[in-house]
Amino acid sequence: MTDLSVAKTVTRQGLDVEAVRRDFPILTQCINNKPLVYLDNGASAQKPIAVLDAMDRYYREMHSNVHRGAHTLGDRATAAFEGARETVRGFLNAASTREIIWTRGTTEAINLVANGLAGKLQPDDEILVSRMEHHANIVPWQMLAERTGAKVVPVQVTHEGELDLDSFDQLLNDKTRILALTHVSNVLGTVNPIKSLVAKAKARGVFTVVDGAQAVPHFQPDVQAIDCDFYTFSAHKLFGPTGIGVLYGREALLEAMPPYQGGGEMIERVSFEKTTWNTLPYKFEAGTPAIAEAVGLGAAIDYLGTLDRVAMEAAEQALLARANALVATVPGMEVIGTARHKVPVMSFKIAGLHPSDIGTLLDQQGIAIRTGHHCAMPLMEFFGVPGTARASFAFYNTLDEVEQLFTALQKIQRLFA
């Protein structure tokens, strides 16, 4: 092996956050004359140069349609596209690239599964979700329930923002056919004990669907270890491009499921007498796919592979710990979601202030957060709030930025006092 190829796979030891920040050009700008502090990573994360370059290079040097095979560019595009699929397979530790389906994002992936499982449901069957789900993991199941006469049943959450495991055990029963759970709550940051919950469901022959959208930016899931039937995520939250996401599905189940959309690419043979489907994964990928975006996602995962994952997770936990320690410095501030096992996400309210007031005035100070119901209205209802302000951190955020957030919140609190 040459030195060069070794150098390419060397992991950066520890986490030099200043060096990492230089990989994300968007971070070095001013908003409202203040240096940008980007704490809205839960909504969408920023992109490293490696991703921008990969997509640029794809369009400059290899763009063509994939899987057509008549010319060199087509071969290059296909190799890059299928190379990205292999990268995703490795990231999730799936058994085969036949189990990796490209979708537009988590939302489409869940809709695809809901559609595919329709034939397995009968009236009064139950679809178990939780009260902390994003609407994308509630509404597709409600639509499926509407079609089939099944019922959507929510597992309750505790006031700390953890999944109520007693409620889970009570609600998982002989009628349950599908368990659709988020790995990490987008509002609370709670990491659910997904492996044990999946195991309980599987013991009863329940199909298991895991929404991994908020998990993958913070840690690497292993779908074989989790042993779920389906796992979904979106590239744009994983430092990759918008417009593409992934559905992992157990091969035997994907084989048995009907196609989602009809069109080009997903067929083996079309005739007016009988049309037959392509093999996996193409059966679920009608139409020309988001090729450059797939390449970009592959580059994002490769980029993350150059970082010291352990140091990254430790740095993120340090950000959360600093934020937790500073809560008391803002009079009237209350954190919503105090689970024991959390990714660095902090939802909060401040007495007397509407979340939109907080968001507007943080923006004035160059700080980007999310405010509102976070597409989780049933959870807002549970906590009795119209919405929350949410700071969601990524590994490129600094302890100094956490402190800037709290200095800004103190200023806002004084403005209203």
């Binding site: 509407h354 939109s356 507007t360 509102g372 403005l415």
Partner: protein, 159 residues
């Protein structure tokens, strides 16, 4: 005259407090903190909103916060009087500025007001543009719809 009607007619916003006056005040405020403190203070001048009016029919959709808007048409003067309420302080301030600009006008005046010009004026306040779910456009839209119902013979001009 009922007390509810008096609440409409006694509203200083748009009557004694004028848009020019507010603009003049704003020019003396240099940084965002002073400007927003001023907007928040304006919001505190909104007259009390009747609890029983917080119903779906008066709800203004398209805002991140909850916003309600009611009106009273004064036959004698031919003017339309408005009350707005919100649970967000900055939105209350923006509502106050809208009232300063549009309260106590005739429906015809409201319908012929150049809304984009109004927003451009408001944009001079810096960062108060009709974006980001602050409800400026939704509030103004509802006011124009109300004005249109008072002059049924002429459809509202679309802006």
């Amino acid at each position: 005259m009922t007390s509810a009607t008096e609440t409409f007619l006694d509203n200083p916003l748009g009557t004694s407090v004028t848009i020019d006056g507010v603009m003049d005040d704003f020019e003396f405020l240099d940084d965002w903190e002073d400007r927003y403190a001023y907007i928040i203070d304006l919001g505190k001048q909104l007259p009390a909103f009747p609890d029983e009016a917080r119903v779906e029919n008066n709800y203004v959709h398209g805002c991140q916060s909850q916003v309600w808007l009611i009106h009273y048409f004064d036959e004698a003067s031919g003017k339309l009087y408005l009350l707005i309420d919100s649970d967000a302080m900055i939105v209350r301030g923006l509502a106050a500025i809208i009232l300063v600009a549009l309260n106590g006008r005739t429906p015809r005046e409201l319908l012929t007001t150049d809304i984009d010009e109004l927003f451009e004026t408001l944009d001079l306040f810096r960062h108060i543009s009709p974006t980001r779910g602050n409800g400026l456009r939704a509030m103004v839209g509802k006011i124009r719809d109300i004005a249109a119902t008072q002059v049924p013979s002429e459809p509202p001009s679309r802006v």
